[in-house]
């Protein structure tokens, strides 16, 4: 069902956890549809210095969460905003078609976290 790369990220997910007093937190999904993803960011000079996630969801949900954290570490916020759900799925070498819609939300969670950071900073 899942390719080796997805299974690798699923069984050894990178950057699991929370960041206390994170600069930005983003959450998407709801338990009704089966996915909840929460992403925590640490930001310095518009660069993402640390990122962690917590996810309730299927193999694809966990793998995409893990993948997106790897993709954004060290990137600028602008660069991070260009990452799409599609790009995450591609970085994983593809997902089963049935999983493309409901589990492929990690980039959305990332964007929410960035928005949260910008909103907090603006205050």
């Amino acid at each position: 069902m899942y390719n080796d790369k997805v299974m690798d990220h699923f069984s050894n997910p990178r950057n699991v956890g929370e960041i206390k007093d994170a600069a930005g937190v983003g959450e998407v999904g709801n338990a009704k549809c089966g996915d909840i993803m929460r992403i925590y960011l640490q930001v310095e000079n518009d660069i993402i210095t640390d990122v962690k996630f917590k996810t309730f969801g299927c193999g694809a949900a966990i793998a995409t969460s893990s993948m997106v954290t790897e993709m954004v570490k060290g990137k600028t916020l602008d660069e991070a905003l260009t990452i799409s759900n599609q790009a995450v799925a591609e970085a994983l070498g593809g997902l089963p078609p049935a999983k493309m819609h409901c589990s492929n939300l990690a980039a959305d969670a990332l964007h929410e976290a960035i928005k949260d950071y910008i909103a907090k900073k603006g205050k």
Partner: protein, 386 residues
């Protein structure tokens, strides 16, 4: 790696004895049961022997057994067959909200054809109420179809009482016994059952073969047209090897059934007790007593079923889940939702179904590996500990 199969409600391995008999009827005694020559007569005789054995399994008469391609076809034939044949008497069907899709989608299809269907609710243990059933009956009701035991949570319905009520009211009673036949005693006469669906691959016969029991006198219209096989009830060259295997499996199932039921129940109870003891925040789904011997169904709060399954799989354990994500559909199991579980809790469900080939060592291994998997997934969950 150890491979442990805990998904007997999805399908069972074919008994070696059954498979070898099938092989013989494929390569050697391969005749078409409709042929008049020796090859054909040999095939027909074996098929009629099998019919006797399947009948004996549920205490029916051989002529009341009609072979099908499996449980789904049996359910389609029962529901559509009665609906079409009795349209003049009425257009109302009563079933439940927890049926298998083979019943559920067939009923939905009939609704588009002008039939009215009542879907009975169930309580938190997946039980229907006889009171609800009584109240649902109208003078247009031609069929009551209530599954014998549920495939997800294992709850066994009050079949005898339903049968009695249906008999009194002169309404046909069908039961989907796909999970039950061969795994738990059934007596269609004692239980007042008019029609019963069974499927080979749920009790150690092959996929692709099953049977529908139709009590003598029940009016059913065929749904697959062609040569007049199965006394015009089911056209299509009979799957002789499959049928012979079904007969053998029925014979084996009948031998020492009580012993096997007790054995599987014992293992299952040990597994349930172990899980409840070792893991916090777990809910057992389904009826505490009235449940199929092999069935255990848990909701592990705060985690999602597919990730749990994949982790178990990596440890060599095969199980299943009612999570939406497993099935690729948007909603989790309609059964768990009908029982009143919230979406989150339904998503975290795990079905473990044991069979006669499982051992105590299998259960112990499961109890060894599951707690740490659950703990790890919970530590990743945004719902846990926050």
């Amino acid at each position: 790696m150890k491979r442990i199969y805990f998904d007997h409600s999805a399908t069972t391995p074919v008994d070696r004895e059954v498979a070898e008999l099938m092989l013989e009827y494929m390569t050697d005694k391969f005749g078409n049961a409709s042929s008049v020559h020796a090859f054909g007569r040999e095939a027909r005789k074996a098929m009629e022997d099998a019919r006797e054995k399947v009948a004996a399994l549920i205490n029916a008469e051989p002529r009341e057994i009609f072979f099908t391609s499996g449980g789904t076809e049996g359910d389609n034939l029962a529901i559509k067959g009665v609906a079409y044949a009795n349209r003049k008497k009425g257009n109302h069907i009563i079933t439940t909200g927890i049926e298998h899709h083979a019943i559920f989608h067939t009923c939905e299809y009939l609704e588009k054809q002008g039939f009215t269907v009542t879907y009975l609710p169930v309580d938190e243990n997946a039980m229907i109420s006889l009171e609800d059933l009584k109240n649902a009956i109208t003078d247009k009701t031609i069929l009551i179809s209530v599954m014998f035991a549920n495939n997800e949570v294992g709850t066994i319905q009050p079949i005898k009482e339903i049968g009695q009520l249906a008999r009194e009211k002169g309404i046909y009673f069908h039961t989907d016994a796909v999970q039950v036949a061969g795994n738990y005693p059934i007596d269609v006469k004692e239980l007042n059952i008019d029609m019963l669906t069974l499927s080979g691959h749920k009790f150690y016969a092959s996929k692709g073969v099953g049977a529908l029991y139709i009590r003598r006198g029940v009016r059913v219209e065929e749904i697959q047209h062609g040569g007049g096989h199965e006394r015009n009830m089911r056209a299509g060259t009979e799957n002789v090897p499959g049928i012979v295997g079904l007969g053998k499996a029925a014979e084996i199932a009948k031998q020492d059934m009580d012993k096997k039921v007790a054995y599987v129940t014992g293992l299952r109870d040990k597994l349930i007790a172990g899980v409840m003891e070792k893991i916090p925040h777990v809910k057992l789904n389904g009826h505490p007593e009235m449940r199929m011997p092999g069935n255990a169904n848990f909701s592990f709060l705060f985690i999602e079923g597919e990730s749990l399954l994949l982790n178990l799989d990596m440890k060599g354990i095969a199980a299943s889940s009612g999570s939406a994500c497993t099935s690729g559909s948007l909603d989790p199991s309609h059964v768990l939702l009908a029982m009143g579980l919230s979406h989150e809790v339904a998503h975290g469900s795990l079905r473990v179904t044991l069979g006669k080939g499982n051992t105590e060592a299998d259960v112990n291994y499961f109890l060894d590996v599951v707690p740490e998997i659950v703990e790890r997934l919970r530590s990743m969950s945004p719902l846990y500990g926050s």
